[in-house]
């Protein structure tokens, strides 16, 4: 089967293609470029904050940088890198030859490119400076770049919705024979839960952004206070999407590490069904919590307690996942390869983000720490310690499948160590700064916070350096790395039963699935049950 695959030209990655694997790689590489751009912005921000009264950048430039740092990282890095993983993996994991709508799939990717360029180009006309939250009325009066920002996010949301329609259709209709929902790999489960959430929440943000764009472009008065507009309306529309967006950004990462633990512990996933169900539970509950971002705003005070309760309940399915992962590795035969290290790092850092999320849900505590560096620390532990660690784990884990090559394990471990130390060093001091009284989004600060900020900047610089071994490893190993073989990790999910990289149409014959995806230890050691796909030779 492997030998029958015709060589695929690398040139296919540089143009229009409807192959989900090509599109997946296009997403991964493009989003990584934007990650570097967003990281450079963070580098300037952390350099500015080395001293309380630093004048490296002006207040105006600072607001533009922090606004676009957030927007680029969320909309152009984390969301598309996870969409890229989903694109590459879901059809392979479910035994399909491609996504359900290949041309729509290509279109979703090709919307990302102009949208990203539009956001970056906004710096030439005065970039958005009202924060990634774009609170009105501030965002109505900002420079022209604010309009470009809104249009860019509308395009990105549209791309995300198209992708999600595709994932839902693909997972529902294109699973291989015998691949029931209770045999669906957990990464595909997480993409399904995520896609449902995207389809429910994103249209609301898009509508809100359209209102802002119209206020700015054609003089409507949706958010004009003198004309009777309500600033709180935007906050509702914005958070109805943007809180679920956190789950959209973390569920696929959780799915990825749910794949990694059983492989590197040589044990079945503990509580497979509970992990799958908890993804759906997080999706559904995630739609009911948005106003916890508005406890200090003008929302009706009687509504605060219900939102506190729904927010806190999300800790329960999240806890189920964490304990199930721990039980998966308990009693296993653990191998500490790079993907496993990042997956373990995910748990240990996401845990901090999760616990501090409960503090933020508790209204009396939130009224103190809302809009402070405590929130900045919390969200970075969730999105950087969590989502980005998960994305790193996934990149290393599926790298041999995507490229057909092995990466350098030592460089991978160097990257892990620098990333782990850097993340904790950068974000832990921010909790304390916030509790002690430092608001977020400030270009200068009270000198009493100097030491905490210098520690955070040191961590951020270490994170910047930590990307170098990753980049070097990914590029050099693709050219020079040793051949990986079809299944270097000895995993059981379907994507590992085809060649690396997979042939153009994934499966020469439609596979038939006869067992669950994580049945480790069931067959005699070292001899996987022959899968129908492999039996097609």
């Amino acid at each position: 089967m492997t030998t029958a695959t015709p060589a695929l030209s690398p040139r296919r990655y540089f143009g229009w293609s409807t192959d989900h694997k090509v599109i997946g790689v296009q997403y991964l590489v493009t989003s990584f470029f934007f990650f570097l751009v967003g990281g450079a912005m963070a580098g300037i921000i952390r350099t500015q904050l080395l001293a309380p009264d630093s004048t490296l950048v002006s207040a105006e430039a600072y607001n533009r940088l922090s606004t676009n740092h957030g927007s680029v990282m969320l909309f152009l890095w984390i969301l598309p890198v996870l969409a890229g993983l989903g694109n590459y993996l879901v059809p392979l994991q479910i035994g399909a030859r491609d996504m359900a709508f290949p041309r729509l799939n290509a279109l979703s990717f090709w919307l990302l490119v102009p949208a990203g360029l539009l956001m970056l180009a906004s710096f030439f006309v005065g970039a958005a400076e009202a924060g990634w939250t774009a609170y009105v009325p501030l965002s109505i009066s900002g420079p022209d770049g604010q309009t470009l920002w809104a249009v860019s996010v509308i395009l990105l949301g549209t791309s995300s919705m198209m992708g999600s329609i595709n994932f839902v259709a693909t997972i529902f209709t294109m699973r291989a024979e015998g691949l029931t929902f209770w045999r669906l790999p957990l990464f595909s489960w997480s993409m399904l839960a995520t896609s449902i959430l995207v389809l429910t929440a994103t249209p609301v943000l898009t509508a809100g952004l359209a209102l802002i764009a119209m206020d700015r472009l054609v003089g409507t008065l949706f958010f004009s206070v003198p004309a009777g507009g309500d600033p709180i309306l935007w906050q509702n529309l914005f958070w109805f999407y943007s809180h679920p967006a956190v789950y959209i950004m973390v569920l696929p990462a959780m799915g990825a590490i749910s794949e990694i633990f059983p492989v590197f512990a040589r044990k079945p996933v503990f509580g497979y069904r509970m992990i799958a169900i908890s993804s759906l539970a997080i999706s559904l509950l995630g739609l009911t919590v948005w106003a916890h971002h508005m406890f200090t705003s003008g929302m009706d005070p009687r509504l605060r307690v219900p939102y506190m309760i729904s927010t806190m309940i999300i800790a329960v399915p999240t806890g189920v996942k964490i304990f199930s992962w721990l039980a998966t590795i308990w009693g296993g035969k653990i191998r500490l390869d790079t993907p496993m290290l990042f997956a373990l790092g995910f748990i240990s850092m996401f845990l901090i983000g999760g616990i501090t999320g409960v503090f933020l849900a508790a209204i009396p505590v939130d009224l103190h720490v809302h809009d402070t560096y405590f929130v900045v620390a919390h969200l970075h532990f969730v999105l950087f310690g969590g989502s980005v660690s998960g994305a790193y784990a996934a990149l290393y884990y599926w790298y041999p499948k995507i490229t057909g090559r092995r990466f350098d394990e030592r460089l991978g471990k160097v990257h892990f160590a620098a990333n782990f130390i850097g993340t904790n060093l950068a974000y832990l001091p921010m909790f304390l700064a916030g509790l002690l009284g430092m608001p977020r989004r400030v270009v200068n600060y009270d000198p009493r916070f100097t030491e905490l900020n210098q520690l955070a900047s040191l961590g951020a610089f270490l994170l910047a350096v930590s990307v170098l071994p990753l980049l070097y490893n990914m590029i050099v190993s693709w050219v020079n790395g040793p051949k990986a073989g079809d299944n270097p990790w000895k995993a059981k999910t379907l994507e590992w039963q085809v060649s690396s990289p997979p042939p153009a149409h994934n499966f020469d014959q439609p596979p038939v699935v006869t067992e669950g995806p994580y049945d480790y230890g069931e067959a005699p050691a070292g001899s996987l049950k022959p899968s129908p796909a492999a039996a097609g030779d």
Partner: protein
């Protein structure tokens, strides 16, 4: 064997509980407690911190223990003994976290309700915000101040609003903040309990002067006598015109955006106002033929009429004409023109 497992579980649980209690009692991450609300919030926070410590140590401990204890031996290529799940265990780790969040939720609700109880005869203070300054008005008096003076021990009822974009009124030592939203009047109840001087922060991004706005105002909690005497003194303008001008300069929040050595102001959002009248100074070209008093007055009343180089139009509020009485405007203009 089974008894030994039980013993270990009991022992580890006891250790975790002791660690959690120690953290709750001994770890203080908060600034000074300066209000009744702060004391309540800190109790809740400490309880949550203790619980958080238990969960943190449990999860990280299990993680590290597993990584060291369950490593694949060199040369072993086989799989581990398969375990697919354990119904009882899964129920336990669903129910215990659920129980914990229910307790925290209930406790939070109690603290919230207790911190919003109305007391008799509160002191009302109107908090007005605009880009990029706070002003505090004391209804029933003519006092307008950029620093917030409060008597210790009496409940304050803040009525908070904004003239332009959303700001957020935050005193960390009071442990509470409230957004100032244009077109809305928000209420916030605080009872200060500790004399001292604390910062007033702006917690909602409000534009280029956001950081400066969070560094420009203070709250001074003082004895009732000290507060009353401040109120009397602040209501009257000093007889000396320069001192009166200096008072008005801060009262109307000019110091938040403009630098002026005489008033100790270092704002950088708008142009510096030192040496306005100097014919060779940085402002000389701006007022061209206009006489300097009219130029300064025009710049206060119609900020867009002349924009200093390197500064943007539209940042300075345009409603000073309705907020500053004519006699005070004259004193302020004299004061500014007198700066050398």
């Amino acid at each position: 064997m089974k008894e030994r497992t039980l013993l270990v579980v009991v022992l580890v649980t006891a250790l975790l509980v002791v660690a959690g209690i120690w953290v709750a009692l001994n770890v203080n991450l908060m600034p000074a407690e300066a209000s009744t609300r702060a004391a309540l919030v800190d109790q809740l926070f400490r309880a949550m911190l203790g619980l958080a410590a238990v969960i943190f140590l449990l999860v990280e401990g299990l993680l590290l223990y597993s990584v060291f204890r369950f490593r694949q031996p060199r040369g072993d290529d086989g799989d581990a003994v398969p375990v697919h799940g354990n119904r009882a265990l899964e129920i336990v780790w669903t129910l215990i976290p659920a129980l914990i969040v229910i307790v925290i939720g209930f406790y939070s609700f109690r603290v919230l309700a207790a911190s919003e109880i109305r007391e008799e005869d509160p002191l009302v203070v109107n908090v007005r915000s605009r880009q990029f300054a706070w002003t505090f008005e004391y209804p029933g008096t003519s006092v307008i101040s950029s620093d917030l003076h409060l008597p210790v021990g009496r409940q304050v009822r803040f009525l908070i609003t904004s003239d332009d974009v959303i700001h957020s009124f935050w005193v960390p030592e009071f442990r509470v903040k409230r957004d100032a939203t244009p077109g809305q009047m928000a209420e916030l109840l605080v009872t200060p309990t500790r004399e001292g001087t604390y910062p007033v922060r702006c917690a909602e991004l409000c534009g280029v002067g956001h950081a400066a706005m969070g560094l420009s105002s203070r709250v001074i909690v003082e004895s009732d006598e000290a507060f009353q005497s401040w109120l009397t003194q602040a209501a009257a303008l000093p007889a000396d015109p320069i001192e009166a001008g200096r008072t008005l300069f801060t009262r109307y929040g000019c110091q938040a955006c403009h630098a002026l050595a005489d008033a100790g102001a270092a704002g950088a959002v708008g142009p510096a106002l030192d040496s306005l009248a100097d014919p060779n100074g940085p402002h000389a070209h701006a007022h061209g033929g206009m006489d300097i008093r009219s130029f300064v007055e025009q710049s206060i009343l119609e900020p867009s009429a002349a924009i200093a180089p390197a500064f943007a139009d539209g940042l300075m509020p345009k409603d000073f004409g309705t907020r500053i009485p004519a006699n005070e405007l004259a004193i302020l203009v004299d004061y500014l023109v007198a700066q050398k």
